[in-house]
């Protein structure tokens, strides 16, 4: 009997090889297009949705490529998840895990490698690989934590560990620790490693507290703790699809929705085999959404989605923007997170409100940028924005300031964001050109500075897809302030154009109209699914995820873009309940 009732068959797919071939050919298209130079290529979807036909009795119609966002396609009949890599805990996940393992006794340590992202998401496997510095940081953190939490070893173990190698109290604590840290019962070999280490240290005349500290250090540096891995409930050949174990589902849920390891309650459910059906998982996911930790996860995703890490390397001309400093940049990030939490968890939870709403959370420094009342001081308060000037995240100071230069707006970056992150179209340009933003000139409008992009045919192909969107946001300066003139008193022209943008193609005027247009689009809705999906599976989405993404996209669409339903659907998608056995 199949675990998850949505499906009626177990799947063993040779189809996946077809996927791999498709993937290779897509990549090749991208590569060859580069030799043609900067004529512009929008990748994705070139292949069309060719029906994957092989001899699998399970799902003859499963798609071999992912349709474009917003394009409807029938759901898969059998589960077919994309590969999900074994991935290291992120900085936040590590902090939360330590808190969960040791409670108040745990020291607060920032000394754990942070993801290095210049694009993509902080959750990505490749952003969290272990460097030489990283290994040292992990070791240092493990040592510091172990020594701190064993200062009161009786409180830690709940009994008094003795100085014998088979001390019952110590061994019981080690088992409990391993189960919590590994997020599942430890296997005999794994337990033996820990118990032997305890015995070895006791044998070398270390005190029970020192020996337990050694074991904790060991656990915190072990891959069983540091990596989230799924092996499935049974073995299979490469390409086979197997259901996850209940413990793995518990981890999936809690890392997805809380950025934290499963708590005692979830572990108990797993132990009782109560995370076994889609219904049970859904009930649990809905319950978990009530916890404020989900807000943090969603906020972190949005920060990366909006590429706010660009704020870290932003400099602003102090003569034009004397108010620019780290505190303001932090407030900008905060605004996005708080506003998202308001909309998604206390408001109508709709994507369109997030993308085009007219309320935001701001402190006085931000309110000043928005030309709003600043009486809230340093505290954040809900602010109603001028509808003729602002709508949603795209007109937030955070997005506008991060996608700008030190003196002027940067329409190319603003347009590129919309193209890549909201429409899910990749812009690929040749590797051998120098990108040099044209100099700022007070007598020339921003949009005219970029004329070369239009006039030079080698540039025009790509830039016609980006610049005209960014030009529509010329009504905001490099700090994100609304403006009606630029340079030496030149009037602003905010006409923009969404070329080749599916259901929302066509000219528009200014930020609010652009936001409204994007908020109403099925393409944008489908793209948002793909972006959050990528964040959740710790890598860029691809054709291999077609079944999962189509399912989530359909659920999201049926809920009229409800963000909470999106998170629930995500936790019920193939990639979260099943594992595809890798090579």
């Amino acid at each position: 009997m199949q675990q998850f009732s949505r499906y009626t068959f177990a799947f063993t797919g040779t189809q996946l090889q077809v996927f791999a071939m498709m993937r290779a050919s897509l990549t090749w298209i991208a590569v060859t297009s580069l030799t043609v130079a900067c004529t512009g290529t929008v990748t994705g979807g070139e292949s069309g949705a060719a029906g994957g036909s092989d001899d699998s009795p399970t799902d003859k119609d499963a798609p071999t490529s992912l349709p474009q966002p917003g394009e409807s396609a029938p759901l898969c009949k059998a589960p077919l998840p994309g590969l999900v890599a074994t991935r290291r805990l992120t900085h936040t996940q590590f902090q939360n895990a330590i808190k969960q393992l040791f409670g108040a006794a745990a020291p607060t340590t920032n000394n754990f490698p942070k993801a290095s992202i210049r694009e993509g998401y902080r959750s990505f496997v490749d952003a969290n690989s272990v460097t030489a510095d990283g290994a040292e940081q992990i070791a240092a953190a493990a040592t510091a934590i172990a020594s701190k939490v064993t200062t009161d070893v009786v409180a830690l173990a709940g009994c008094t560990p003795g100085a014998t190698s088979d001390d019952a109290c110590a061994l019981r604590y080690i088992e409990t620790l391993a189960q919590k840290a590994y997020r599942r019962p430890a296997e005999p070999a794994e337990l033996a490693t820990l118990k032997n280490t305890y015995a070895k240290l006791i044998g070398a005349a270390f005190t029970p507290a020192e020996a337990l500290a050694g074991v904790i250090e060991l656990v915190l540096q072990s891959p069983q703790f540091l990596y989230i891995a799924e092996f499935g409930s049974k073995t299979g050949a490469s390409g086979d699809v197997v259901p996850l174990t209940d413990y793995e589902v518990a981890s999936r849920l809690s890392f997805l929705l809380w950025d934290a390891p499963p708590n005692d309650e979830l572990l108990q459910l797993a132990r009782d085999a109560k995370l076994h059906t889609a219904k049970e998982v859904e009930a649990q996911a809905r319950k978990m959404l009530q916890d404020p930790r989900t807000e943090s996860v969603f906020g972190a995703f949005l920060e990366d989605w909006l590429e706010l890490y660009r704020l870290d390397s932003q400099t602003k001309d102090p003569k034009r923007f004397p108010e620019w400093n780290d505190a303001l940049a932090t407030a900008m990030r905060s605004e996005v997170k708080q506003t998202a939490a308001e909309v998604a968890f206390r408001g109508d939870a709709s994507l369109s409100s997030l993308l085009a709403g007219n309320r935001t959370m701001a402190n006085a420094a931000l309110a000043k940028i928005y030309g709003a009342d600043t009486s809230m001081g340093d505290k954040f308060a809900s602010v109603t924005l001028n509808e003729s000037q602002r709508a949603g995240l795209l007109t937030s100071a955070a997005f506008l300031a991060s996608h700008a230069g030190s003196q002027e707006s940067f329409p190319v970056a603003r347009g590129a964001f919309v193209r890549r992150h909201m429409l899910c179209q990749d812009i690929v340009i040749p590797a051998n050109i120098v990108i040099e933003p044209p100099p700022v000139n007070p007598n020339v409008r921003g949009r005219e500075r970029f004329n070369q992009h239009r006039d030079d045919p080698t540039c025009a192909g790509c830039h016609a897809l980006m610049d005209p969107i960014g030009f529509g946001l010329e009504g905001y300066d490099a700090l994100g302030r609304h403006r009606t003139s630029e340079g030496d008193n030149l009037s602003i022209d905010t006409s923009g154009d969404l070329t080749d943008a599916g259901d929302i193609s066509g000219p528009f005027q200014g930020g609010p109209e652009l936001a409204e247009r994007l908020a109403s689009s099925d393409v944008v809705q489908g793209c948002f699914v793909r972006q959050l999906f990528s964040y959740a599976v710790a890598r860029a989405y691809g054709d291999e995820d077609a079944c999962a993404i189509l399912f989530v996209e359909k659920k999201f669409s049926e809920s009229h873009g409800n963000l909470k339903e999106l998170l629930v659907a995500l936790s019920l998608s193939d990639n979260f309940l099943y594992r595809r056995v890798p090579q």
Binding site: A30, T193, Q221, V428, I435, P437
Partner: protein
């Protein structure tokens, strides 16, 4: 070119340079193409390289700071001499001793001590009370104290303050008016630092055993875990295991090779107040080991006999003392003696660099992880003023900071030309190299601008 315009231009250039790889990277590698497999990676390679310039060896993340100070200024015609660009410059005869480390140093011409202008006292007092504090009349802590409070790790002592010459309270301050004495006798320093700290060999053995037991367990867990992984996941875990092994090698090396109780080769009848060369060597050895053993992360060395160091007797050619000779300056007779004196200081500095480049530290040497500031009360000794002071950095300011440059902010050979760059900015720059976000250090006296020196980091 107007200086403000030039500074603005530099800042803009710097911004563009900094921003470029970021912007370029964002466009060239679409999210999907980056991760899509062999084709995408091939396309992106030059950019991936550009994005991760950190991979190179040599200067690493600075963990420590050494401030090395002498009195009486220098003579810019024979110091670091500008060429056609910051990397094209030559070293005059004063700096010959540091030539082997030219690529590990940054030289500055035209950094003023502007705070000295608002301090009270004579030509010496106004510089001595401000050059390490940037607060008039020693009204605040010296830089070593500030940085030490920020970067010292648990168990480390605060700033270690040594002197070459007699012990004296001159330029270092714990707080307003609270002078700190630099310790001139290396034997006493050695006794206070090292008698109790190095663990007995038995204790070291115990620690090594514990570390080995833990790491053995981790490696065992790696093997258990690895067995069930797919090919790609295995590759990633192996990368982690490799880094762990490197760390183990490094830690093992640290305990035995690099950190030991320093051995001072002092001559018979050593007198720390007058035997400056042996003293400088001994203090250098103590510094190297205090750093290698992680006893401290910040230290200072002051040459306390500014006026008449006995060792300069041979250069003086008729002048009453070294101070008189400095005052006479290069316009008077026997410039050769002046150069010899300054070069003597450079030779001491070079010996310290040389020792730091020998002592193992993590995967590199002490020099790779230490920011060293070489300062002086004055620029041109003859002026005894705070215009274009002697300023250089050595060692590492971080893996991305290109060393081997000379940066000029005013014409140092016209000692009356004020620049827009002050010592305050140099300290802000060093703070930034240690990840500190300060925009100012000390008093914002007239003409002092906030921020680090453009183009350094």
């Amino acid at each position: 070119m107007n200086k403000q315009v030039a500074a603005d231009q530099r800042r803009v250039d710097q911004e563009l340079q900094r921003a470029q790889p970021h912007k370029t990277g964002a466009f060239v590698l679409g999210r999907r193409s980056l991760l899509r497999g062999v084709g995408g990676i091939t396309v992106g390679l030059p950019f991936i390289e550009a994005l991760s310039r950190k991979a190179q060896a040599a200067p690493g993340r600075p963990k420590r700071f050494l401030l090395w100070h002498q009195g009486q200024g220098t003579q810019f015609k024979q110091w670091a001499i500008p060429g056609s660009s910051p990397t094209d410059f030559s070293l005059g005869s004063i700096l010959e001793p540091v030539a082997p480390f030219k690529d590990r140093m940054l030289f500055f011409r035209g950094i003023d001590n502007k705070v000295a202008e608002i301090a009270s006292g004579d030509g010496h007092a106004t510089k001595q009370s401000t050059c390490l504090t940037c607060v008039p009349n020693g009204g605040g802590p010296s830089f070593d104290q500030v940085l030490s409070a920020r970067i010292r790790t648990p168990g480390q002592r605060s700033s270690l303050n040594l002197a070459v010459g007699r012990s004296a309270k001159i330029r270092l301050y714990a707080g307003p008016g609270d002078k700190i004495e630099s310790q001139g006798d290396p034997r006493k320093v050695l006794a206070s630092l090292f008698t109790t700290t190095p663990q007995s060999s038995k204790e070291l053995e115990r620690l090594a055993l514990r570390r080995k037991s833990v790491l053995d367990g981790v490696k065992e867990n790696m093997t258990t875990f690895r067995a069930r992984l797919g090919t790609e996941d295995k590759r990633r875990l192996d990368q982690h295991t490799d880094k762990l092994r490197e760390l183990e090698t490094r830690l093992n090396a640290q305990g035995s090779v690099a950190c030991t109780t320093p051995k001072l080769n002092l001559p018979a009848g050593f007198n720390p107040d007058s035997n400056h060369e042996a003293n400088a060597d001994a203090q250098t050895e103590i510094l190297a080991m205090a750093f290698a053993c992680n006893l401290t992360s910040v230290a200072t060395v002051e040459f306390t006999d500014d006026h008449d160091p006995g060792v300069f007797g041979g250069f003086l050619s008729g002048y009453g003392n070294w101070h008189d000779m400095v005052h006479a300056g290069e316009t008077k007779r026997d410039i050769g003696g002046l150069i010899s004196g300054y070069r003597w200081y450079a030779a001491r500095f070079a010996k310290m660099l040389s020792r730091f480049s020998e002592v193992q530290d993590e995967s590199g040497t002490l020099l790779d992880h230490t920011t060293i500031q070489w300062t002086c009360d004055f620029g041109y000794g003859i002026g005894h003023n705070g215009l274009s002071v002697h300023a250089a950095l050595a060692g590492s300011l971080g893996p991305d900071v290109k060393m081997g440059r000379l940066l000029s902010f005013s014409d140092a050979e016209k000692a009356w030309t004020a620049s827009n760059c002050s010592l305050n900015n140099l300290y802000v720059t060093i703070l930034a190299a240690f990840g500190q976000k300060d925009t100012t250090f000390g008093t914002q006296a007239k003409g002092v601008q906030p921020g680090p020196i453009a183009g350094v980091l």
